[in-house]
């Protein structure tokens, strides 16, 4: 663990990502304190105000403060990321570990099921799920969670297959450790490094996916301050008010970038086998 931390600290870009991530967490936690205004309050006398001393990042077509909406948007982005990645991690591990450990027919059925989910491009799959469930924040989390479950399942399955026949697992088995404790205590820990990396990178995907769905009008509820939704609102005002579109996009990019940088650094620090930076 100490070695991992040292290796991570040596990673310059990883540290940049970590600092960005800390800033993001701070703005999400303290959004109500940091925001100059209520993110939902419309100021009819200040429609499409350019960035300046009145409104640092300007206001949108309804007179809402862009900076306040971006700060509150970070809460939504992290919330959606946390729940959807949590779902994908849990469901993916359950499926992947079961498939990898059981092998045979169980493995075949689960693997084909994952192939089916994989064969629909992620945005399409999320759209279809949203079409069935309806536009709602909790549904966005579920849709993104389902879309990214197969990735976690593949990682978990691969790791289980790697250590299933290892000497220490055989030893534990021969000493009479039952299946569930064997998986939880001996097999799963071996999968943790790969899963940590995947979790970090999946946060990046989840933030991108939520903003894409909201941008298309199929994500969170219309009034929610979401970065994707802000970009959608700004689309019609591009020639008059560039700031409505530019700043929320920056927020998405920096957030996704921070997760990607930390994910890459963790991959290098945790697992020398995975080094090289291939996506």
């Amino acid at each position: 663990m100490k070695n991992t931390w040292q290796a991570f600290r040596m990673h310059r870009m990883g540290m940049v990502g970590a600092v960005l991530l800390a800033l993001l967490l701070g703005s999400a936690l303290f959004a109500p304190l940091l925001s100059p205004r209520d993110p939902l309050a419309m100021q009819t006398d200040a429609l499409l105000t350019a960035p300046g001393s009145d409104a640092l990042l300007g206001t949108d077509a309804l007179g809402r403060d862009v900076l306040s909406r971006i700060l509150h948007g970070s809460r939504l982005a992290l919330h959606v990321g946390l729940v959807s990645v949590g779902f994908a991690l849990t469901a993916g591990c359950l499926l992947g570990v079961t498939a990898g450990y059981a092998g045979g027919k169980t493995d075949y059925v689960i693997s084909r099921f994952l192939d089916i989910l994989f064969s629909v491009p992620d945005v399409m799959l999320a759209l279809a799920i949203m079409a069935v469930l309806g536009q709602k924040t909790t549904n966005v989390m579920l849709a993104i969670g389902i879309v990214y479950t197969p990735i976690f399942a593949r990682v978990a399955r691969g790791e289980v297959l790697r250590v299933k026949r290892a000497l220490f697992v055989e030893a534990a088995r021969s000493m009479g450790v039952r299946t569930l404790p064997l998986i939880v205590r001996h097999i799963l820990p071996a999968a943790v490094p790969a899963l940590i990396v995947q979790t970090t990178l999946s946060f990046a995907f989840a933030v991108l996916a939520e903003s894409a769905l909201s941008f298309l009008g199929l994500g969170v509820e219309p009034d929610t301050p979401s970065w994707g939704m802000m970009l959608r609102d700004g689309k019609d005002w591009l020639d008059e008010a560039w700031w409505i579109s530019v700043f929320p996009g920056m927020a998405i990019t920096l957030t996704v970038l921070s997760f990607n940088l930390v994910g890459d650094a963790l991959r290098d620090a945790l697992d020398p086998r995975l080094r090289g930076g291939a996506a």
């Binding site: 870009m13 084909r112 099921f113 192939d115 089916i116 064969s119 629909v120 491009p121 992620d122 945005v123 399409m124 759209l127 279809a128 949203m130 079409a131 069935v132 990046a204 991108l208 903003s211 894409a212 941008f215 298309l216 009008g217 199929l218 970009l231 700004g234 689309k235 591009l238 020639d239 560039w242 579109s245 530019v246 996009g249 998405i252 990019t253 920096l254 996704v256 970038l257 990607n260 940088l261 890459d264 090289g276 930076g277 291939a278 996506a279």
Partner: protein
Amino acid sequence: MVLAFMFLRRLFSVFPVWLGVSVLSFGLLRLIPGDTATMMLGTRYTEERAERLRERMGLDQPLPVQYVRWLGRVVRGDLGESAYTGRPVRDELLERLPVTLQLAGGALITALLIAIPLGVLGAAQRGKAGDYAAQVVGISGLSIPNFWLGTLLILGFSLGPGGLPSGGYISPSVSLAQNLRHMLLPTVALSLAVAAVLLRMCRSAMLEILDQDFMELARAKGVSRTRLLWVHGLKNAWLPVMTVLGIQAGYLLGGSVVIESVFRLPGIGSLALSAIQSRDYVLLQGVILFVATAFLLINLTVDLLYAWIDPRMRAS
């Protein structure tokens, strides 16, 4: 002979997955609460039409029977009729396919043109300026959302001095020059993320190959550095890059939904979106089945190409 055998084996393994996808698409329509016939007819609903549709589709039959009947029609190319326009879904799809093909194909070519030179350069100049540039393009390509990039491109080149069109589509049969002008920004916006993935793959593959003995030997034999990199190196680095091409095709198909929406292009992606907006579930079902089938076929092709290029794969 070996290839033919491989083809059959791969086809055999793809088929159950395709069946699963068809169950998924079929199930989509049945998961939505309400009367299926009413939903399928949408705005064109009359009691008479609903009755005829129930009869034709066998909607009073058990679900497995309905599924088999539906699959039978799908295999013959009948994907039903759009609830909104009343036109066959197949015609809607075929009409919009060229736009998406041009967008995705163009984006893939652009991505390769960015990724391969930068990937090779990054590996060759490890730790120096070229490598730094390659890594910056790689990580930012993965982090910038394509719809925001599209928006920025519109701000910079449509509303700015470039004067390029900010949206809309003109068929190449009408005017090739206009067609290319309209497709330029969306193609670039869609390509960057793919370029990033390919670039990172190419760079890391090249780094590994540069350390190999045969490269050392070639160098010792006096092969020029340019030839060493671009011929000997790239020939080998190309294989791992190819393995991710198939997966990237999925990204291109999915990403086209967003990009077609930003640039108002009448492709498959915007068809899916308008199907959802107008609650045209028959159309949505058709689009998803079509896209997933295309994605499976592309990956099958990539696998076979891979085996054809790399004899080691054939042996295993």
